[in-house]
């Protein structure tokens, strides 16, 4: 039987972070990944030689001193990647089809306030109050500081208010409210369901700066691989835990892999979907309370994606990297409702990459979508789906293209769709149980799975544990990692590696 200090299950951004963090702290780590390669949603896929992002497109918090910058620096990853900051003044644009108007939103708190006040002069006070509130929530959340992360999250008042409630208390202006809640597409939960606190914590990074990585998520995966070598972290792909064995006094003694290999370790950290965690732990040791809690988690939104290119000579006045959200109207709740049948939110992510010496203009188009949209084909697998499914995709591609061309008539002759993906494609390609983009839905009054599980040497981390997205997923690994190596060691690790 092989022995390790810790096994980490799942090699998305959270599992990669967890494995490296523990390895850097002198622990002998084995990282298990079900797929043939590591990286999860960070992965980039190539079609016709062109790289397309799958689950990681852009992020906030990568500026010096930002939370992501800090986490990557501490792990010795920052110097191995190359951030590409989107243009400050028009990183994010929102095109409202109902108004036929484009709103360009900069990043940086001062600039955002100014720009929004220019668009909505009578709402100046509401705009200031909104950003003040966001900043206050983040200041009141100890875990937003890497040195203060803790498994036990103390709630603040805003953890019990929805984004919608707060916005309704500030303004009646529907367009302004839609723009302020537009980043809901970055966490996949309705404004009437997400807490104002979590909305603020997620948006903080994106309000500070918006960037992507040169080479996309693959660049980060490569950086991790290099660091894994430095710290002798073992990785095993196409493997997963088939059985948690010898559970005694709520502790597992042995983990049996799908390969038949048996492993003994102190801790096992699961960075997989809570639904998969529930399947893995022997049922006889679970209380009904635990099962009911995990089963009641709902699904966040997913996307229907188009992977497209633009001709090199087209639309040169546009920035190389930028994000445009096309909203049919101002009702964000509706756009994030699985039952809603109308036109939904479309997010166009425009990037450039150099491929074999030539600059390529790439457009990733994401339209909000849900497993309900493809429920009839849920039992089918990639490459073997029926004609009705192919027709569904064709129809959806057509309607998305029409909407893009209405907003950007210049694209008509120059846009080529290379591939597309439905929620089912994401489910099967990225091993995400329901194909959602952000794990479970973060709702008011919800207690996520984080830290110790009912088998007490097993832990939960990942984007469903704390907050969705790359920052939240990485934070969850720091939180759980801290509880494993203990406070004292964590503090000295931070003192050594976090320069401020």
């Amino acid at each position: 039987m092989k022995k390790y200090d810790d096994i980490v299950v799942g090699s998305g951004i959270s599992g990669l972070t967890m494995a490296l963090f523990l390895g850097m702290n002198g622990r002998r780590v084995l990282l298990l990944e079900k797929s043939p390669r590591i990286g999860g949603s960070l992965s980039v896929f190539y079609k016709n030689g062109i790289p397309f992002d799958t689950g990681f497109h852009f992020t906030g918090g990568l500026q010096k001193g930002g939370l992501l910058y800090d986490m990557l620096s501490v792990l010795g990853l920052y110097d191995l990647i190359q951030p590409v900051f989107l243009p400050e003044d028009n990183a994010n644009s929102f095109f409202l089809e109902s108004e036929n108007r484009l709103y360009e939103i900069p990043y940086g708190f001062r600039k955002m306030r100014e720009k929004l006040k220019n668009y909505f002069p009578p709402e100046a006070a509401a705009i200031d109050k909104y950003f003040d509130k966001v900043l206050k929530v983040c200041a009141d959340t100890p875990s937003m500081d890497l040195r203060n992360l803790a498994v036990s999250q103390t709630h603040i008042d805003e953890d019990f208010m929805t984004l919608e409630e707060v916005l309704n208390g500030l303004t009646d202006n529907k367009v302004l409210k839609a723009l302020l809640s537009g980043f809901a597409m970055c966490y996949g939960v309705k404004p009437q369901e997400i807490t104002f606190a979590n909305h603020s914590r997620i948006c903080l990074g994106l309000y500070e700066s918006v960037s992507r990585l040169a080479g996309g998520g693959n660049a980060l995966i490569e950086a991790f691989k290099k660091r894994f070598q430095d710290h002798k972290i073992e990785v095993s792909c196409s493997s997963y835990i088939a059985e948690v064995a010898d559970v005694y006094n709520k502790k597992a003694g042995r983990f049996v892999l799908n390969t038949g290999e048996e492993i003994e370790c102190e801790n096992c950290i699961l960075t997989i979907h809570p639904k998969e965690i529930l399947k893995l732990i022997p049922e006889d040791i679970l209380s009904k309370a635990f099962i009911s809690r995990v089963s009641s988690y709902e699904v966040s939104s997913g996307f229907f994606a188009l992977f497209a290119t633009l001709d090199p000579d087209c639309c040169d006045e546009e920035p190389d990297n930028s994000i445009v959200s096309i909203f049919p109207h101002t009702d964000i709740n509706q756009m994030l409702d699985p039952e809603y049948k109308g036109a939904s939110a479309l997010v166009l992510i425009r990037t450039t990459e150099v491929v074999n010496g030539t600059r390529k203009k790439i457009i990733n188009v994401l339209e909000t979508s849900f497993s309900e949209h493809v429920a009839v084909w849920k039992d089918t697998r990639r490459g073997m789906r029926p004609q009705t499914y192919l027709d569904y995709k064709k129809e959806r591609i057509k309607s998305i293209k029409e909407r893009i061309f209405r907003a950007y008539p210049d694209y008509k002759e120059h846009l080529t769709v290379i591939d597309s993906a439905s929620v089912l494609t994401f489910r099967d390609y990225l091993n995400s149980p329901d194909g959602s983009a952000y794990g479970i839905k973060q709702k008011v009054g919800q207690y996520n799975l984080i830290g110790k599980l009912p088998v007490r040497n097993m832990y939960a981390a990942g984007q469903s544990s704390l907050l969705p997205g790359i920052i939240g997923a990485m934070m969850s690994s720091f939180v759980v990692g801290r509880s494993i190596i203990k406070d004292e060691k964590y503090s000295s690790f931070m003192n050594r590696n976090l320069c401020k």
Binding site: T154, D159, S287, A289, F290, S292, G445, Y447, K452, P454
Partner: protein
């Protein structure tokens, strides 16, 4: 909500969600040493109580002070009472 209703509903949570026999559910019963929960079960208990009583429970010091079943009744009573005051 009366105290009796709170006691009944709370006991039901322990019976249904933690499979503890009703005769063991005495107010003075210690939820850890007598009823066999551990500190990590508290989150599951809180979630079950939230669902059962239709309330939101904050993660705060008062939860960490809970020791006996009577403490749980008292804790719910305070939340329900505060709700009543807010509503009226």
């Amino acid at each position: 909500m009366t105290e009796k209703e709170i006691i009944e509903k709370t006991n039901k949570v322990f019976e249904e969600f933690f499979e503890i026999e009703s005769e063991r559910l005495k107010p003075e019963a210690h939820i850890f040493s007598d009823l066999g929960l551990d500190s990590l079960d508290i989150v599951d208990l809180v979630v079950a109580l939230q669902k059962s009583f239709g309330i939101n429970i904050r993660n705060e010091d008062k939860i960490r002070d809970i020791r006996t079943l009577q403490d749980v009744y008292q804790f719910i009573f305070l939340i329900k009472n505060a709700e009543g005051i807010k509503d009226s």
